[in-house]
Symmetry: C2
Subunit: 379 residues, 2 copies
Amino acid sequence: MRKYHLLAPGPTPVPPRVLEAMARPLMHHRTKEFEALFEEVRSGLSWLYQSEGDVIMLAASGSGGMEASAANLLSPGDSALVVEGGKFGERWVEICRAYGFETDVISVEWGRSVDLGEVESRLRAGGHRAVFVQASETSTGAKHDVRQLAEVVRRTSPDTLVVADAITALGVYDLRPEEWDLDAVITGSQKALMLPPGLAFVWLSERAWAVAEKAGSPRFYFDLRIERKSQAKNTTAWTPAISLVEGLRVALEMMRGEGLENIFARHARLAGGMRSALRAQGLGIFPRDLLSESVSAVSVPEGIDGKAIPRLMQNEQGITIAGGQGHLSGKIFRIGHMGYVDESDMLAAIGGLERVLSSLGHELEKGAGLTAAQEEFGR
Amino acid sequence: MRKYHLLAPGPTPVPPRVLEAMARPLMHHRTKEFEALFEEVRSGLSWLYQSEGDVIMLAASGSGGMEASAANLLSPGDSALVVEGGKFGERWVEICRAYGFETDVISVEWGRSVDLGEVESRLRAGGHRAVFVQASETSTGAKHDVRQLAEVVRRTSPDTLVVADAITALGVYDLRPEEWDLDAVITGSQKALMLPPGLAFVWLSERAWAVAEKAGSPRFYFDLRIERKSQAKNTTAWTPAISLVEGLRVALEMMRGEGLENIFARHARLAGGMRSALRAQGLGIFPRDLLSESVSAVSVPEGIDGKAIPRLMQNEQGITIAGGQGHLSGKIFRIGHMGYVDESDMLAAIGGLERVLSSLGHELEKGAGLTAAQEEFGR
């Protein structure tokens, strides 16, 4: 008997109340009932994004939301500046190239945060329609400071749009699309929103909406102009993922009950506890500059089989964590602490990790990680 | 107290066993457990498509699958022949224009099936990369004969691809993508597959896969080449809609238990019973040539408020049916009989409709529709 714990950096655990809501008999989406549901959801999304601006819901996973923001804001041949500091930065590059944008890449060492001086000097060369960046680079556990990046952009190249992948950032730490003058902010359902994957969300600034009206990339399913018109009337242009929207209503209700400040504080507390524990276990935190509150990326100690860590956590402890992606495979592992998670989940992960690391020959003091976490939680 | 009946031409009712499967605690998708689930699902999809060829699953609604087939098979400036005989034919036109294809439209009177002679003469003009058509035009209740259309294409313009929207066709009537020499066949989760919306499926012929390798339209999230490589290894390129895939396993298991022949016979029997009933109620069936087994589109009798019919069915009888779309709004209404439906559902719809039509002043003989349906079911 093993109780299962999902502690990956997404998908994240779904609360029983949300699972129940999704298991209700299906309603039709062209009804007053769905409109009332979607109106409530839209209000919740505005609350989450801390903006009265439209948040567009798409039936797609987060990558679909990323593509939607690119396809709606740039035309073939436009110049894009891409911050590439991990697997998801690479995804921006792939999307921009697939659409035929001139793609100017700032290669950031994986695990580092982008140097804003470098952003500024690239922007000075001029002509970038948009900067693409991760607010939280899930593959490395690093954050890029999108608030300061937006300030650099406004100062240096005011018409350049700031497009932030906030898939593991929104609802995790305080991120204010409107107040920080960002232009596109994307998230997905399977992270802080505590739902299964299948919904993406895109918020655009008024500046970005004006650009979207004229951008020349082909788009249909992801045409945000079409969706904006429909969603203003509490419906969707294409058939929505109805059961996920039912779950979303409940998830947003739970989040509003907790309050944004408490949600952000909880993520910071859990991240802090986890990192104290990891250090007490003799492990190194992989990212070096700004650490994302959503995920801890951990360097595999010398002489330990890195790929065995997530495998044994899964097979022997019943705890899903994640390995490294791309060239970080086997070199890091990642523990998610985002969404429907609390102190007990952290203790489960820390305890399981202690047992796994011991079995792999890593020397550590029994219970030291758990004690360190408890001390941090108690502050 | 009103028991709720969902009898729209999609979304369709979800069986309790499928709802239960989707309500299980979420699994991670980069695990052996998900690979085993997806392998079973892929085998079920091959069975459903009656082909060993790859069926690609996308986290999107059906329109996303339509766009994927267009974006992967044509390049900007390519010529597309579109059969436009309803709302979903119009959708093909919109997609083709959004992608900058030369769009040659065969306008079919809504409710009619396409004249294959017209298809042949357009093809003779030459140069069409693909023909886009609905196997079942959900908005009018008509079918286009995609089997014969493919024969015309092969005879007249062998390299032209045949792209069939089978969203309300596959799993409803006998449609054989490979045997009929079609090139792309799209379906969605919320129709015969008895799931909530949120998954689209695209099957391509080997001829179409070869074209997809070289087609020049921009695509990323819907790039079928990327998905094909991942899905061959029982995973997906982007995060899949995990809970819907859990439901899909159960739905396909239920369908395999029933058997394709029985499924097709059930849909034909229910459609036949429904139409006998409608005629016995003094109503006219709207489509004039080939009738889809998935939906009955009904002409609103003279002097009756057409928009009131679905509204009263919903509000007073607890039965969701659909009105007309586009210029057919108020002129027809549509009853779905697809997916998780049986004779009892047909009687519920026929009985509810009798009560609604009576209240609106349409003269009919009490019980005549129900009797006619029973006679048809008993054949």
